[in-house]
Amino acid sequence: MSIERPSTLDFPPDAEGMEMVYCRPDTLTDTPFHYCPGCGHSVVHRVLMEVVEELGLQEKTIGVAPVGCSVFAYHYMNIDMQEAAHGRASAVATGIKRVLPDRYVFSYQGDGDLAAIGTAETIHTVNRGENILMVFINNGIYGMTGGQMAPTSLPGQVTTTSPYGRDVKMVGHPIRIADLLIQLPGAYYVTRQAVHNPNAVRKLKKAFEKSFQYQKEGKGTCFVEVVSNCPSGWRMTPVESIKYLEDTMFPAYPLGDLKVPEKV
């Protein structure tokens, strides 16, 4: 496919004859991401918007931003968007989808938003089989508010509100919400992905592509969890955070498909 670029992003003149294989999609604005160095959000934003552009859905896609670090997702995603109250993104997405059923609607939420304060909305949106894509960024911490314990923080994980480590006797075990959601008939496609290396990013992109295809076919809720990092909240360098993902997060949140459409 050919994509026309603004002049500032063109290849330098001496690149004549070379083929453009990778560039910033039109579905991202020129606003620089504000995310911390190494944070997964910007990669997920970009991959999602690449898919919207490549499928030619910029005019038909409406996103819902959450409360949390990605509250300003609408500054970066060059599509129509709404900003929801904390936890309510999937209810807001439901409202949009129900009155504009031919549009592609997605919600984008973090772990505190989707798996703590918005648990009821999450479960019931999926239970209705709402024909939307729910993107779930799970980094086991509240990033924006400065690194507090999330519903998905791991046992023993030190955060500002679990300074001696998450005590499961006091606050329970981390909630694996995707594992809960696959029990619901409304969930059509549930997968857990990551963005810690190029291969993972490619897989995530595939998952988004499938989700838009299923939404086109009216199949039900597609739920894409991204087990991501939070170098600032975890008090780590970006490189250390990748190692923590691989050594500690992925064993607790194994990557891969949790529910795939039945073969006909």
């Binding site: 819902v64 129509d80 900003e83 109250a85 807001v92 439901t94």
Partner: protein
């Protein structure tokens, strides 16, 4: 209300909640999102029964929190949407209402008030006046609040509510009560399709090539920006206060005593006016139809004419504060009312007036 009536539509005997629900269909709502709660479950029931046969969309949500956020999403997508509930459910919606007011989305919310606080009772009350007209949720905002006093107005104010909400891009509320919701009266329904849809170029309908992306948000992180949004809201409220005050006056021309009452209380006070005049006490009644904006100016004028005013409410005395603000101390302002689902009778109100008059006579003797 000057609602255009369908001349061919016959007067029907309807419950207030059902009249409201029927009017919603006739107002061409694109969506109703709600959750059952007494005393207004008939609204959701009626719409679940009728909408599949006619037009629009109805969805029973998992909570009032979900309902109001579905309203936010759908209104932000340019749809004409409404929800309804009663006190406890309306309390759950306050977060969403604050967001909707800030994002400047039009929608209609109906509160069929029951006695509170807490889980309270399912009997009628006007105890949610403060919540409705003074904000309810966080931040500086107002709902446009209409108070019907008959089943006819339960239907008419659906149209009026949407008209005002859409004119000002502001949430509107119908503040009614369990008695008006449950009682049956003759009603002539507004003509179906007589409320044209507005243009919504700001809505999130999908970014086309010819415009920037549309954003519906209530987040303005820079204080300068947040202040300017607030100034814009306040400017809108001043315009609403100037142009949209509605009230009804009954026998105020020669009144010495003015009753002030809205909704069901005003129906009771109408009878008190007649009972008093039979005894030679010249009572008049001012019924605010819009509770926000409030008829401060007219009450202030009437304060130059009457000896005293009395606010009659089915609560502990909430609107009486606005009456006092209006009269600026020119005349005494009294209050009488019942709470917790109890309703004052016309005789109760008259008795209160007579005892005030007796006290005055004692003082004069």
């Amino acid at each position: 209300m000057e609602e255009k009536k369908n001349k061919t539509s016959e007067a029907k005997l309807m419950k207030g909640n059902e009249a409201l629900a029927e009017a919603a269909i006739r107002a061409d709502i694109d969506g109703y999102f709600g959750y059952p709660i007494t005393p207004q479950s008939e609204v959701l029931e009626y719409l679940e029964r009728e909408i599949p046969k006619r037009h629009g969309l109805v969805l029973q949500a998992e909570s009032e929190i979900a309902s109001i956020n579905m309203i936010y999403g759908a209104a932000g997508a340019g749809a004409r949407v409404m929800t309804s509930s009663s006190g406890p459910g309306i309390s759950l919606m306050q977060e969403g209402l604050s967001y909707i007011a800030s994002a400047q989305l039009p929608c209609l919310v109906v509160n069929v008030v029951r006695g509170g606080p807490g889980l309270g009772t399912i009997q009628p009350s006007q105890g949610d006046y403060f919540q409705a007209v003074k904000g309810g949720g966080h931040g500086d905002y107002h709902l446009i609040v209409l108070a019907p006093a008959s089943v006819q107005e339960m239907a008419d104010f659906v149209f009026e509510g949407f008209r005002l909400a859409e004119k000002y891009r502001n949430p509107a509320m119908i503040l009614t009560d369990g008695a008006l919701g449950q009682m049956m009266e003759k009603v002539i329904q507004p003509e179906e399709g007589s409320l044209p849809k507005i243009k919504t170029p700001w809505a999130t309908t999908g970014k086309t090539k010819d415009r920037d992306h549309n954003i519906i948000t209530s987040l303005f992180i820079k204080p300068e920006e947040m202040e300017s949004v607030n100034l814009q809201l306040q400017e809108k409220y001043r315009k609403i206060e100037k142009d949209e005050v509605r009230f009804e006056e009954i026998k105020t021309e020669d009144a010495d005593i003015l009753l002030v009452a809205f909704g069901l209380s005003s129906r009771i006070c109408q009878k008190t006016v007649d009972l008093g005049r039979e005894k030679g006490i010249k009572i008049g009644l001012l019924r605010p139809i819009t509770l926000y904006p409030y008829p401060y100016k007219r009450l202030n004028e009437l304060a130059d004419q009457v000896d005293f005013m009395m606010s009659v409410e089915m609560n502990a005395g909430q609107m009486v504060e606005d009456v006092k603000l209006a009269v600026e101390g020119k005349v005494p302002v009294h209050f009488t009312g019942r709470m917790g689902g109890m309703i004052p009778s016309p005789d109760d109100v008259l008795h209160e007036i007579e005892s005030i008059l007796d006290n005055q006579n004692v003082l004069q003797d």
